[in-house]
């Protein structure tokens, strides 16, 4: 066994000249062989050695064998019963939502765990039954198969290589340049076509709209000179409540969204705006006697003690809305950036490097707050084309 067998064919006999020498039986001999004989022949061909092959229960019909049989069957019966329970529960159990504390809430909350448990136990039962069968009832055998890790014989390798070389020479592709090149062109263009079909849809020019490109503007941008108001959101996009300057007490914050009067009867657009990623704005009313530092160019963006900052963190775009009304800090929960609300929301701690974008606000003749314009810089995290400020 020291040298690996060269091949599964005749030359194996040369390396192993002992009793393992393979005799390939004729068709007539094969017809006369029993099942056991055939298995033994197969084992010899595949180099398998059966070390031991002992039945678990040499005497059939003992009480121990019956018990093992019952145990295996028990798993399968469990699988069947649980499968049946799963079907019944899936169809008949009360699955519709019931609030906590109301009649039937226990039954409702048990629905998902129950279908999971029953289906899981059913699958588990089948698997456990099969494993238990092989462990308890199948004969306890130990067989060893030798690994054949040698390469093909030298003759096989040489002849196969020669066949390939000859095919290449006979094709004459090396000589017929026109065919070779036109075939290359066809293959190349076909590959390019497949690539275009697969990835072409992903290639978009985000700057097609110039200064109105999506990364540069938000829903706060006014269209056709229409005024964009600040609105509250209470879960129902169609329940539009505008904000007056006096609605906020000192030291309070309200998350506001843009609203245009022309959208009032457009439920789809109303819902879109309150859920769009770049429109949430924190409207903050500072406490009195807080020293305010304004950013150059944004001196008139606030309305009295009301300041409106984008909720989108300038670091990675998380909603940074943990407003502390005594320290006037706005904390971002993702990476602990902190912004100073009374100093143009400049970053004072953490990875954020730019202040939050500030929305210029004013009050109309009926006292409602509106945005005088869109943000003067892109909100949220930076990008290559962003003009730094």
């Amino acid at each position: 066994m020291s040298a690996p067998p060269e091949s599964q064919y005749g030359d194996k006999a040369g390396t192993q000249p002992d009793s393992n020498q393979l005799h390939i039986p004729s068709d007539a001999e094969l017809a006369e062989m029993s099942t056991d004989d055939l298995v033994r022949l197969g084992n010899r061909i595949d180099d398998i050695e059966v070390v031991s092959d002992r039945p678990r229960f040499p005497v059939p019909g003992t009480r121990a064998e019956k018990r093992a049989e019952r145990q295996v069957a028990g798993w399968f019966i469990l699988a069947a019963v649980m499968g049946l329970a799963f079907i019944v529960i899936f169809i008949a159990w009360p699955w519709e939502y019931v609030s906590p504390g109301q009649d039937g809430d226990l039954l409702y909350v048990l629905y998902t765990p129950l279908i999971g448990t029953t289906l899981g136990l059913s699958v588990l039962g089948v698997g456990m039954g099969i494993i238990a069968y092989s462990k308890k009832l199948l004969p306890e055998d130990l067989t060893i198969q030798q690994r054949h890790d040698g390469r093909s014989s030298e003759v096989d390798r040489r002849t196969a290589a020669a066949r390939l070389v000859q095919t290449g020479q006979q094709s004459g592709l090396a000589r017929r340049k026109l065919i070779f090149r036109s075939l290359g062109a066809a293959g190349g263009v076909l590959t390019a076509g497949i690539a275009v079909a697969a990835f072409g849809g992903l290639v978009k020019n985000p700057w097609k709209e110039g200064d109105d490109s999506p990364l540069l503007v938000t829903d706060w941008k006014s269209e056709n000179g229409e005024r964009v108001y600040l609105r509250k959101f209470d879960g129902d996009p169609e329940d539009v409540v505008l904000i007056r300057a006096g609605d906020l007490e000192p030291g309070s914050m309200e998350t506001v969204f843009p609203f245009k009067e022309s959208d009032r009867n457009d439920p789809e657009h109303l819902a879109e705006v309150v859920r769009s990623a770049d429109s949430p704005v924190m409207l903050i009313r500072l406490r009195p006697n807080v020293t305010v530092i304004k950013r150059a160019g944004q001196e008139d963006f606030n309305y009295g003690s009301l300041f409106a900052y984008s909720k989108i963190c300038s670091h990675m775009g998380c909603p940074t809305s943990l407003y502390e009304d005594q320290t006037n800090r706005i904390l971002c929960p993702c990476h602990q950036s902190q912004f100073q609300a009374n100093e143009y929301a400049r970053p004072i701690f953490g990875p954020a490097a730019r202040p939050l974008a500030q929305l210029p606000i004013a009050v109309d003749d009926q006292g409602y707050l509106y945005a005088r314009s869109d943000f003067i810089e892109p909100v949220g995290p930076g990008f290559w084309e962003r003009r730094s400020s």
Binding site: S99, G101, G235, L248, E249, G251, M253, E324
Partner: protein
């Protein structure tokens, strides 16, 4: 009559009409003035101090204040620099929140006032509240039973909670960290009145939510939502253990380690020989 002496009568009547008009005018003016005055007294808004009419309660509150609070908040509620803020205008709601949760009297100056054992009886807290309310007014928690403060529109309450509260208090009220050692506390121990008071006054670094911002009904719905997701709401936990209610991270860790251990155990059992 008309045919006898119409002329002199008309003369008398002319003179009389003038007097009568004058008298009637004065009478009408008097009636109108009386009516306006009466209506004014009927519809006159009650003054701010009306709630603190019980002078005895205010006196009791003042004596409690003088014993427990005066060191940090000053003899005239004006506050002491470096110790405590002014209490003028903070209102009964603020007193109720701070004292009934045990946060006041403060144990030590620090980043955060912790909830701890309550030092005063409800009656004493009422007295202190009346005293503070009598000096400057301020927000007041509705005098209704707990159940009346728990709203029934849990869907709206949940939506408002996620918009206004969840950023600090977590989406099921588990609380969370703030800057420099401060934190937003978990909401389970707070009763409906304390939550209502906290929204009204914004204790510590919490922003204020005036009734113009969150209407009383919206506040009640938010309380209803908080109570419905609290572990002691009586809601059944289908998994058997909420794992702190922090969501997918602890649940994923448990699923990963428990599931992995189970899979390894089963593989070992399948591969074992008897």
């Amino acid at each position: 009559m008309s045919d006898q002496s119409p002329r002199p009568r008309r003369l008398w009547a002319r003179a009389g009409t003038k007097t009568r008009r004058r008298v009637a005018g004065f009478l009408a003016l008097g009636v109108a003035l009386l009516a306006v005055g009466g209506l004014y007294t009927v519809f006159q808004p009650e003054p701010e101090t009306a709630r603190a009419q019980d002078a005895a309660l205010v006196r009791e509150g003042q004596s409690l204040y003088d014993n427990a609070c005066i060191t940090c908040h000053g003899s005239n509620l004006q506050g002491v620099v470096g110790r405590g803020p002014s209490l003028i205008g903070v209102g009964e709601a603020s007193v109720y929140f701070q004292v009934s949760t045990g946060r006041m009297p403060l144990k030590a100056q620090g980043a955060q006032a912790d909830r701890k054992k309550v030092e005063f009886t409800p009656q004493q807290i009422d007295a202190m509240g009346a005293y503070i309310q009598a000096n400057g007014g301020g927000p007041v928690v509705p005098a209704e039973p707990d159940a009346a403060l728990i709203g029934s529109d849990l869907g709206r309450g949940g939506e408002l909670f996620r918009l206004n509260c969840a950023q600090c208090h977590n989406f099921t009220g588990r609380g969370g960290a703030l800057s420099s050692g401060k934190f937003a506390p978990p909401l389970d121990p707070a009763n409906p009145h304390q939550i209502y008071a906290a929204m009204l006054v914004g204790p510590g670094n919490m922003p204020t939510f005036a009734d113009t911002q969150l209407s009383p009904e919206e506040k009640r719905d938010i309380i209803g939502y908080i109570k419905s997701v609290s572990p002691d709401s009586g809601a059944v936990n289908p998994g058997g253990n909420g794992l702190g209610g922090f969501g997918p991270v602890p649940e994923g860790i448990v699923a990963f380690f428990v599931g992995l251990a189970a899979l390894i155990g089963i593989s070992l059992w399948i591969g074992s020989r008897q």
